[in-house]
Structures are given as C-alpha cells and as structure tokens.
C-alpha cells in the first residue's frame, strides 16, 4: 500500500475518533448537572457547595435529605398533583390530537388547509405571551386555584395535532373505506381501526406531553397559589426561598431528584419511540 493511500484510509478514522470525543464532551456537559443533583441529594449540607466540588460524597448522608425534603414541604402532595395533571394532560391530549389529526388528514372539510395552518401557527407563539390572556380566561370561568385551571389550558396541543395528522395521512384511505363498507360507524373506524395503527405515534406523543407537562413551571405558578394544588416544578422552589433561614440545598436536590426520576424512567423506557416519533413527524408529509 502506498503512503498516500494509507493516509487516506487513516483520515476518516481520525475524524471518527474526533467526532466521538466531541459528542462525549457534550454528553458529559449535559449529564453533569443531573449527576451533581443526584450526588448532592446524598451529601451532607456543608459538602454540597464545597470548593473544589466533591464528585462523590465524602460524608454519605443516606436518605436523610429525602426525609428532610418530606418534612419541609408536602412533597407527596406535589408528586400527586404533578402526576394527576400530567396523566390527564397526556390522555386528553392524545385523544384530542388524534381526533383533530384524523379530521385534518382524512376528511374533506371546508377551509381545511387554512384551519390546519392556523392550528400549527399557534406553535410559534411563546407560552409567556399566552399566560396573561389564559389567566384572564380561567378567572372568567372561576377556575383560578382549581385543577380545572391547572389542566384545561394544556389539553389542546398544536404539535400533537400536527404530529397525528402526519401519521394518519400515511394510513391508506382504503383501510378506512373498507371499514365503512364493512358497516363500521365513524367512531368505530376511529377507535377500532385508526387508533391501533397509531400506537407508535401515540407512544411518542405521550412521552413528549408527559415530559412537557411534568416539567411545566410557568403556568402552574400563575394558575395556582394554593400550596395544596402546587405541582412539583413549583413546589420545589420552597426549598430555596429567600425567606427560609438558610437555603436547604440538600433537601432541594433530593426533591429535584425525585422530580426528575419519573421523567428519566419514562424517557429511558420509551427512548426508541420518542426519537422515532420526533423524526417521523419531521419527515412525513
């Protein structure tokens, strides 16, 4: 083999290693805060802010900080509220998005394209802009400080409609026509024929909505001031409030670990569906 050809064959290998190292560096940078959070939950309070940083706890505190986190604030209550809001959001968003997506994908409705464009254009409006009008709206309905106010504004999701429409468009019309010819009603066609074919897409959307809803901070902060209705993302701020005598970082890290755990488990379990759903929604057209 000549020298030049040997250099040519070596060059892509070097780039591969360089790329791997770069990706690893980014992955570490993203993973470090999560690691710091989890390890700090098991450290003694004075060790958390120690410089230099203790990568592993010198004084292993066991579950002490988790116990303190439970004592300081109604953590179980926060978890229940977050779980309730997220689960209702997931179930309702899946159903409504699938129904809307089915309508947009398979029915000839007047102004269908305009309406679809209108729905997806709402994705471009930041949530911060919507907070005030939504608050006025729930105040009008008397939903401030209620589960209704916490849940209802998040039920319709433009991304969900967009994603479902892309997936449903791929289902051959003949399957739906065969269902009609077989005597199925429109509801039966949707429930028995269309929804089962959407399971992979629904799984991806469920994960996306769950992660979004579980971590949502701004809207629950605005819609609810009663601590009994606070969700985890809002409740966790209790541990670092300035009116506390001193911030309880250990308890905060323990609470944050508990907050992150369900999302992490859901993501790791359905990672394949998540990536497939996101990429398919982007590609299908």
């Amino acid at each position: 083999m000549s020298r030049s050809s040997s250099r040519e064959s070596r060059s892509p290998l070097v780039w591969q290693w360089f790329g791997t190292l770069l990706v690893a560096a980014f992955a570490l940078a993203f993973a470090f805060p999560v690691y710091f959070m989890v390890s700090s939950a098991f450290k003694a309070e004075n060790e958390i802010l120690a410089i230099p940083i203790h990568i592993l706890p010198y004084q292993f505190a066991g579950l002490e900080e988790f116990r303190r986190a439970m004592e300081i604030a109604p953590l179980a209550n926060y978890v229940w509220n977050s779980a309730l809001v997220s689960c209702v959001n997931v179930v309702c968003t899946l159903l409504l998005s699938a129904m809307a997506g089915y309508g947009f994908a398979k029915f000839n409705l007047p102004f269908k394209n305009f309406l679809f464009f209108f729905v997806i254009s709402t994705m471009m409006i930041p949530q911060q802009i919507l907070v005030v009008p939504l608050f006025v709206e729930i105040k009008y309905f008397g939903w401030v400080n209620t589960y209704w106010g916490l849940i209802v504004p998040g039920l319709m999701n433009a991304f969900g409609v967009f994603m479902m429409r892309q997936f449903i468009a791929e289902i051959p019309n003949e399957i739906i026509e065969a269902g009609r010819a077989d005597g199925a009603s429109e509801v039966q066609i949707f429930v028995i024929l269309v929804l089962p074919l959407l399971l992979p897409a629904l799984a991806s959307l469920a994960i996306i909505i769950f992660i979004w809803s579980w971590g949502n901070f701004l809207w629950p902060l605005v819609a609810v001031s009663n601590e009994k209705l606070a969700v985890l993302a809002v409740g966790i701020t209790t541990y670092t409030q300035p009116y506390q005598r001193q911030p309880m970082w250990g308890a905060a890290m323990a609470a944050a670990t508990l907050t992150t755990l369900p999302v992490l488990i859901v993501f790791l379990a359905f990672q394949r569906h998540f990536v497939k759903g996101i990429t398919a929604a982007a590609i299908k057209g």
Partner: protein
C-alpha cells in the same frame, strides 16, 4: 338476487367529469368486467356502485331498490380493494369477521361463519396470522373472504390481482371463476388487463374518458368492436387499422374495392386482427419485415405500415421471418372490420 342498474350516473370532481351519464344493467349472477385505460373512470364507477363515493347525478338501483342515498354498508355489496386493504393489526380471522363484529354478531357465531368461509378459500391454517405474515395470494384470499363473510348480493373487485406475479394471477383468476360458480353471486370486476377481462367476463364494459364505448360478450367485443377505440384497446398485439385512402395511394385499388363491397361507400378504414394477416405466395400486397418477436408457441412479425404504424402479423412459432425482407401478405375477409369517418364500426353488407 343481485341485479345492479345505473341510470344516467355521473360523477364530477370539481371541474373534471370522471363519469358521464352512464346507463348500464348488470343482471343477477352475471360476471361483468369494466375495462379501459388508466383514468377512464372504471374504478370510480365501482366506488359509486359500492357507495364509497357519492354520485353527482343519476340513480343506482340494486335489486330494483334505489340505493343512491344509502351508505355502502347497507347496499348489500362487498368490495375487494386493489391493495387488499386488510387491517394490519388484526389476524386473518379478525379481518374476515370485522363486519360481523361491528354488526354485533356474537363471537361464537362469528367464528363459525368465518371458519366456514375460510374452508371454502382453504385459509383455515392461516386464520391466526397477521397480514404481514401472509403472501400476496393469501392476503388476496383473506380480502375475498372478508367480502364473502358479509354474504353480499354482489362482489365488487377493484383490480384485485394487479399486485400479484403473473403465475399467481392466472391461479387466482381461476379461483375467482370457481368461487363465482360456487356462490352464484353477481360480480363486477375492474381491470386494465385485457386477458383478465376476456377470461373472467360474461360481458365486458369498455370505458373511455368516463363513457361506455361498448358492452358485450368477450367474443363480440373482440370480433365485432363498436368503434376504433374498442378495436385498438382489445387484442394484443393491437388490431391493424388501415385507412382506405392510404391503400389507394399505395396502388392497392383491389383492396379499396373489396372494402367498399364489404362495408359500403362510407368505409374510411379497415381493421385486420394480427392473426388474420398471413403470409401467402399469392398475397394481395407486399411489405418489408421490420421487427420480429418470438414467443415460443407463436411469432409476431411487424411489417412496414401504410401510414407509418407497423402492421402486426401473428404466426406460429415455427415460422421464420427475415428482417428487411419483403413478404407477400393476405387476409381473411371474414374477420375484417370496417369503420366510418367518426371511427364507428360499419355493419357488413
């Protein structure tokens, strides 16, 4: 009973007129094939009969009952789709029993009916399989089974064999004929394949641009086409259409006289089927051989035409043709078809 009658049926998509005021009666237990080129409206017409699409004008009667405004499920017809349209998340048994399930038939009875149909179609050992685990032919049989379970008055087949390979297509064709003999149900079959049309049909409906060009038996469609469109569409290779003026210009006055004697003074072109154009020592005219296709049992030779379109002649596989060589040709006047200036066939005098 399963007669189907279309009265002035039309279908328009925005400004495009897919079906133009069609009149047709399909008798009970008849096997009718809709044939025509792509986009001629044959599948649209089938969908109108099935009730999947609504007619823009006209009325549809099944067994004498006006079903124009009746939904597809209540018309008593069952459709078999081109791509089978099996429900991918259901087993063959669930697919076949779906119509019974939505009709509220109890599970036990449903199973009994499905198993009975599966026995006819020799599908019993495949009932637990999902569509992706079945071959093309098996999927097709499940799709037919799904239609049969409904015990329809008429079966509507929309190019059901087009996704199968040639050998399986022939096999399934025979199976469909066998089923028809067994079930004795009206059958409308859409295809663009003329071999399928000729072998399956009691009557063929030739469609073109949303119009019916001819409705007749396969034999009559082939030997007595109503116009040049039908003559050209049915038959492979295509019929040789020769304009009388071209014959005169080529100095073949005796053929012009013959055409006039057979079809009268209105004759403007004559049609000769390739198998009727034969080599003959004392042939009426000579043409150069331009191309030869050998098929084993037969040979098709293409000769220089009178108007640039080659003349096809079908001969036995034993016949040898030499490219570039001139051959004397003749034809049997019995199979000759004459057409007027509008392309309509002229009756023999």
């Amino acid at each position: 009973m399963g007669s189907i009658e279309l009265k002035s049926v039309g279908k328009r998509f925005a400004t495009f007129e897919a079906i133009r005021s069609i009149e047709l009666k399909v008798e009970d237990r008849e096997r009718v094939v809709f044939v025509g080129p792509s986009g001629c409206g044959k599948s649209t017409l089938l969908r109108l009969i099935c009730g999947i699409d609504d007619v823009t004008e006209g009325r549809i009667f099944i067994d004498g009952v006006d079903v124009t405004a009746v939904g597809s499920a209540k018309r008593g017809v069952a459709m078999v789709f081109q791509n089978y349209a099996l429900y991918p998340h259901m087993t063959a048994e669930q697919n076949m029993g779906f119509s019974l399930r939505v009709a509220g038939v109890p599970k036990g009875e449903r199973r009994k009916i499905v198993r009975g149909v599966a026995a006819i179609l020799q599908l019993e050992h495949l009932l637990h399989r999902y569509p992706k685990e079945l071959s093309g032919g098996q999927r097709q049989r499940v799709a037919i089974g799904r239609a049969m379970v409904r015990r329809p008055k008429a079966f509507l087949f929309d190019e059901p064999l087009s996704n199968l390979d040639a050998a399986l297509r022939v096999e399934m064709r025979l199976e469909i004929i066998r089923l028809h003999e067994q079930l004795k149900t009206t059958m409308i079959y859409v295809t663009h394949d003329q071999a399928e049309a000729m072998t399956l049909a009691d009557r063929i409906v030739v469609l073109n641009s949303g119009n019916i060009e001819q409705v007749d038996t396969p034999r009559n469609i082939y030997h007595h086409p109503a116009n040049t469109f039908v003559a050209k569409f049915i038959g492979s290779p295509k019929i040789n259409l020769i304009e009388v003026d071209r014959l005169a210009a080529a100095g073949l006055g005796q053929l012009v006289t013959l055409a006039g004697r057979l079809f009268g003074s209105k004759v403007r072109s004559i049609g000769i089927r390739p198998e009727m154009l034969q080599l003959a020592k004392n042939g009426a005219f000579s043409r150069l051989c331009m191309n030869v296709e050998y098929f084993g049992s037969e040979t098709i030779a293409y000769f220089e035409g009178f108007d640039g379109v080659p003349l096809a002649a079908k001969a036995s596989g034993e016949t040898h043709f030499q490219l570039g060589q001139s051959y004397k040709l003749s034809f049997d006047t019995v199979g000759l078809v004459g057409f007027d200036t509008t392309g309509d066939a002229l009756p023999p005098l």
